[in-house]
């Protein structure tokens, strides 16, 4: 009985918890509630994935109104997979949040933090689950507003400015998407994705459709921080509270990529996007630039959080590149990397949260000799970092492999070379941290620190373990990604 309503509950459960967090007024109570809810949402997402894998795509009519008039929640393999990523990261971040938030956020604001966090989770899950483009926009705004708040809660004064910048650019992005949706509605008279997909092929010569495509691609590009629309990201990730960086880095941009994929493949169709419009070329150029520029800039950062933020830009470039091939292997690379990058960036940022919890800083200089003082945290960082580099038997290798396969299939040898050379750059910037942590002696006046509390360490290590486990057993990730890629390329949801 309840399994019929899982699609609704996936969004509603975290939604209800947000006001409850406000009503609880206590940091601890709100944290407990949020943690339980996050794990519940994770369980729901797993159940949904199992359901989709066994029975195929699900459809849920909100309010009982049939599509295309009512809002439809439609779950196929791609978004079931995305739900697991988002909810899973949320569930793993919450246990860490208790200590980290207690250190970084004033007590009277903690319950509000958890409320905003739950709203962000709700929004992200909603974006992913819905089959209605306007509903998607609404959830996009919920996520964005909650994220601006979360970023602004950072202890550093600069967090406010970062948040404001994020707000301005995020709003532009959301507005572009809204304009695109409006144009589509004007031409087709429908907001349901499946319905849109059925109507657009007949209308694709129309200029409003083309304009809508441009607006949506650029708007989604802003949301997912596609180079050169990434300028909001480094500051937001650097100055946000540690767990927020971990959560947003692992989920928000991935959901942006999902939105882009959904619009390109499901709504507009691969033929329109790649054959009539030169989207492939645009994404490829921007993706390659992102990979190179992001990695290069990361090499020169001294704040490790900032370094990882730039690395995220590069990693998003990989995903854009994967999409740009418009081939099965390219899409598999993109989709698998959604998962893989979520796992490794989540682990890396959570490890930094541990470091910040003990050190009060994530500057490279402050981390001298940390390998001996926080061995587990740094070992986790190294494991996830190796994954970022793409060492075999880690998830990074799997993504890299498919990306190179896709590039070579398309005869684009130079692209393959750039992808792999950029992974050398990843080695360089990850290695700067390792060098400092393991091969440098701490300053004389460095504070004595010990290992981070278990509640923070365990989720961090779990994510790092996932980086290795799914690098060896690829059946779930690659299997789901392959089927999702096939159905995306066939068009239609």
């Amino acid at each position: 009985m309840i399994s019929l309503h899982l699609p609704a509950l996936q969004v509603v459960v975290p939604l209800i918890s947000a006001p409850l967090c406000v009503l609880l007024r206590r940091g601890f109570g709100a944290w407990l509630l949020a943690t339980v809810i996050a794990w519940t949402a994770f369980a729901i997402s797993l159940a949904l994935l199992a359901q989709v894998l066994s029975d195929g795509a699900l459809s849920y009519k909100m309010g009982g109104w049939a599509a295309p008039w009512g809002i439809e929640y439609r779950i196929d393999r791609l978004n079931a997979f995305m739900l697991v990523i988002v909810a899973g990261i949320g569930a793993l971040v919450m246990p860490c949040a208790y200590h980290s938030v207690a250190r970084e956020i004033a007590p009277e604001r903690q319950h509000l933090f958890y409320a905003a966090f739950m709203l962000a989770l709700t929004g992200l899950l909603g974006i992913v689950i819905t089959g209605d483009v306007f509903n998607l926009y609404v959830f996009l705004e919920i996520t964005s507003l909650a994220s601006y708040t979360l970023v602004a809660l950072g202890a550093d004064r600069r967090a406010l400015r970062a948040s404001f910048q994020y707000l301005v650019l995020g709003t532009i992005g959301a507005t572009f998407i809204l304009i695109g949706i409006g144009l589509l509605y004007m031409v087709t008279g429908t907001l349901n994705m499946a319905d849109l997909a059925a109507r657009i092929p007949a209308l694709q010569e129309l200029r409003p459709v083309r304009a809508a495509f441009a607006f949506i691609v650029v708007g989604a590009g802003l949301k997912l921080a596609l180079f050169p629309l990434h300028l909001w990201l480094p500051n937001a990730y650097t100055y946000a509270p540690s767990v927020v960086s971990a959560f947003l880095a692992a989920t928000a941009t991935k959901v942006g990529v999902y939105v882009l994929m959904r619009f390109i493949f499901t709504v507009f169709g691969a033929r329109f996007a790649f054959e009539m419009m030169p989207l492939g070329e645009i994404l490829m150029v921007l993706g390659l630039l992102a990979v190179m520029v992001g990695s290069l800039v990361a090499v020169f950062q001294t704040n490790v959080k900032r370094m990882l933020a730039y690395s995220s830009i590069a990693q998003i470039g990989y995903m854009a590149l994967g999409i740009s091939f418009a081939s099965v292997n390219g899409l598999v690379a993109g989709i698998v990397h959604l998962f893989n990058h979520a796992a490794m960036k989540g682990a890396l940022f959570l490890a930094l949260a541990c470091v910040f919890y003990r050190l009060g800083s994530v500057e490279l200089d402050a981390m001298r000799g940390l390998g001996r003082r926080m061995p587990l945290t740094m070992a986790t960082f190294v494991a996830a970092g190796m994954s970022l580099v793409g060492v075999p038997l880690t998830v990074g290798f799997i993504s890299k492999w498919y990306l190179v396969v896709a590039a070579i299939e398309s005869g684009l040898w130079p692209v393959a070379v750039i992808v792999l050379v950029a992974s050398l750059l990843a080695l360089v910037y990850i290695w700067r941290v390792v060098e400092v942590a393991y091969f440098r002696e701490p300053d004389g006046d460095a504070p004595e620190v010990t290992e981070a509390p278990a509640a923070m360490l365990v989720p961090t290590m779990a994510l790092a373990a996932a980086c290795i486990y799914f690098g060896i057993d690829t059946e779930l990730t690659v299997g789901v990604a392959t089927e999702a890629a096939l159905s995306l390329l066939e068009g239609g949801p």
């Binding site: 509603v12 209800i16 006001p19 406000v22 009503l23 849920y60 909100m62 009982g64 409320a115």
Partner: protein
């Protein structure tokens, strides 16, 4: 501003009607122009007028921030709770038709409750934003 006698009297006269109009828009939104969002804004504007004329400090006594926060949360809860109630009564989420034996009646109840939730939240948010901005620099 407290010296402006005419303003104070006119405001005292107007505020009840503004609130009443807000409630009208709220309760008739399901079959006339209006709804929770508009009603919430109108309702909040009554208090905002009060704050403009009688001072923010007085307004804060009337609508304490803690109360506002609670109301925001309660409004959202009401909205989401109605949806859940529909679910518990055997419908889909937000499927109000199950609230009564006749679908039209059920829809009526459901929409009314949901709009109430929206109204509460919107007016509380409006007031919070106004008071927060007005309170800056003091």
């Amino acid at each position: 501003m407290s010296d402006l006698l005419i303003l104070r009297i006119v405001a005292k006269l107007l505020i009840p009607y503004i609130l009443l109009f807000g409630l009208y828009v709220q309760t008739h939104g399901d079959f006339g122009p209006g709804g929770g969002f508009q009603a919430g804004v109108i309702f909040a504007s009554g208090f905002i007028l009060y704050a403009l004329v009688f001072g923010v400090a007085n307004a804060r006594r009337v609508v304490p921030p803690r109360l506002m926060a609670t109301l925001i949360a309660l409004g959202v809860l009401l909205f989401a709770g109605v949806g859940l109630a529909a679910l518990l009564m055997g419908g889909n989420y937000l499927e109000y038709a199950v609230f009564a034996d006749q679908p039209a009646r059920g829809n009526h109840i459901g929409i009314w409750l949901v709009e109430l939730g929206v109204g509460i939240t919107v007016s509380a948010v409006m007031l919070t934003i106004f008071l927060t901005i007005a309170g800056r620099g003091r």
